[in-house]
């Protein structure tokens, strides 16, 4: 049976898994009353996010219909979105430092 994920806003390019999906699992992404499918490319635990489209480096990642950060690398559709590929842009006092990376 397909694993369930919730897309909160129709603008979002990620959805939140309600149950853990394994690589190859069909994921049923619910947006309000609408459901569409995406295949998980890797294991994504419950409460974590799955990319619904290919997201290119530097592109905004949207949840709640709002920006929650940007892609720090290219993110393929169906893969997990978390700290390894999403960079928050707010509160980044480190970026103002002279020795900032």
């Amino acid at each position: 049976m397909a694993k369930r994920a919730i897309r909160i806003n129709a603008r979002d390019n990620v959805a939140t898994l309600v149950e853990t999906a394994r690589a190859g699992d069909e994921v049923a992404v619910v947006t309000g009353g609408e459901t569409e499918g995406v295949v998980a490319q890797e294991e994504i635990p419950a409460n974590f996010k799955i990319a619904l489209v290919n997201i290119t480096r530097g592109e905004a990642i949207l949840k709640y219909g709002e920006v929650i950060g940007e892609a720090s690398v290219d993110i393929p559709r169906g893969t997990r979105v978390h700290l390894h590929n999403l960079a928050g842009r707010r509160g980044r006092g480190d970026l103002a430092r002279k020795d900032a990376p």
Partner: protein
């Protein structure tokens, strides 16, 4: 809808009936050991060596906590009534609390023959106050007399999806009934402040909301700190939250949908009913003392859950005079901390209940607790310390 509360002379209604000893220290804690129904402060905060605005904040906190509807009577005690900083002057504090019409006693060591004399007098007065307060009877009062404050913590994906939204339903219903609803956490509106500002009742309030987030972001710049080393906290990352923006956008769901009437500072009482944002940081020891001082009879803690151990106890008494009510939308958390959590909305993600049904169930539970049912953590006889949230450094 109505609940059973203690009617106070100023028109407010109490969910509890405490005798409050202000401030804390040796005499306050010993009176509490001796006399049933008393409560005092456990903190290192005195307002000493603080700037004028922070001393004013500390003084107003003491006054407003004394005015809390959950407090039946107050003893203000210390070494001497006069002197000290004007903002923290004991006579002023006692006088301001007494404007509510509730009994207030000012007792000082210089008039009682020293500290032991003060303690003896304090016990005598507190016993009389407790005896009198026990004669007050709960009466039906409207739900609009309630004031609630909420904090979310250990947030995970369930917080933004369900748990916070259920609180938002309760806030909407309470505000519509004429009550007060407060939320806060100035680091955790960063990334969502524009959404809140659009809901402000006026351009001034919108500017104050944006300024609150800007202030915190600027402090991060001055420190050269990546906010992600502080917030989101590790348990948020473990719970599926990836950035501060994501955390904030989920956090504001607990504020419901009504317009934001104003921005309050730590411990400030709202001037009118409605929904308020408090420019307070997210820490538990600052949060619930502030809500209680602002007049809230119950403090809600909406828990996500990564990091909650099996069988772990949660904080018991950060609100000093107002009980803490623990909530979660996470099924695993509800089971792990069943000893402390009174309410779970995990049924919504499970598909057996709608958000509105869970919200109504929470609203009914809040009225029950306001009427005298104790929360799970309220059964524990322990006093958690709190802290006053200052703006300026200590001198």
């Amino acid at each position: 809808m109505s609940w059973l509360g203690y009617r106070r002379p100023d028109g407010s209604a109490g969910a509890r009936n405490h005798i409050l000893i202000l401030p804390g220290g040796l005499v306050g804690s010993k009176i509490c050991e001796f006399v049933r129904g008393t409560v005092t402060l456990v903190t290192a905060e005195t307002g000493h060596a603080r700037t004028t605005r922070d001393r004013r904040r500390a003084g107003n906190f003491l006054i407003n906590l004394g005015k809390s509807p959950n407090v039946a009577a107050v003893i203000v005690q210390g070494s001497a009534a006069g002197g000290y900083y004007a903002e923290l002057n004991l006579e002023r504090i006692a006088h301001e609390i007494s404007t509510t019409g509730k009994p207030v006693a000012l007792l000082t060591a210089d008039k009682c023959g020293g500290t032991l004399g003060l303690l003896a007098k304090g016990i005598e007065v507190a016993r009389e106050m407790a005896w009198q307060a026990s004669r007050l009877k709960r009466e039906p009062v409207e739900d609009g007399r309630l004031s609630l404050g909420v904090k979310c913590g250990n947030s995970d994906a369930t917080s933004g999806l369900v748990g916070n939204g259920v609180v938002g339903y309760v806030f909407d219903k309470l505000v519509a009934a004429g009550g007060v609803a407060m939320f806060a956490e100035n680091t955790e509106i960063i990334g969502a402040e524009h959404v809140l500002a659009e809901r402000a009742v006026s351009p001034e309030v919108a500017r104050a909301i944006l300024a609150s987030a800007q202030k915190m972001e600027e402090r991060g710049r001055v420190a050269g700190e990546d906010i992600r080393t502080i917030n989101p906290v590790p348990s948020n990352f473990a719970g599926g939250i990836s950035s501060l923006e994501e955390k904030s956008l989920g956090a504001i769901h607990k504020a419901g949908t009504h317009p934001v009437q104003g921005v309050l500072e730590y411990g400030e009482r709202p001037p009118r009913p409605g929904l308020y944002y408090v420019d307070n940081n997210a820490n538990t020891f600052h949060m619930f003392s502030s809500f209680s001082s602002a007049g809230s009879q119950i403090g809600l803690f909406q828990l996500g859950g990564a990091g909650v151990p099996e069988g772990g106890f949660l904080d018991t008494s950060r609100g000093i005079v107002s009980p803490m009510l623990w909530l979660t939308g996470n099924r695993v958390t509800a089971q792990r901390a069943a000893n402390s959590i009174d309410f779970s909305s995990a049924s919504v993600l499970g598909g057996t209940e709608t958000m509105e049904e869970a919200g109504q169930r929470l609203y009914d539970l809040i009225l029950e607790i306001a009427s005298g049912a104790v929360t799970k953590v309220e059964t524990i006889n322990h006093v958690d310390p709190f802290a006053i949230y200052y703006e300026d450094p200590i001198f």
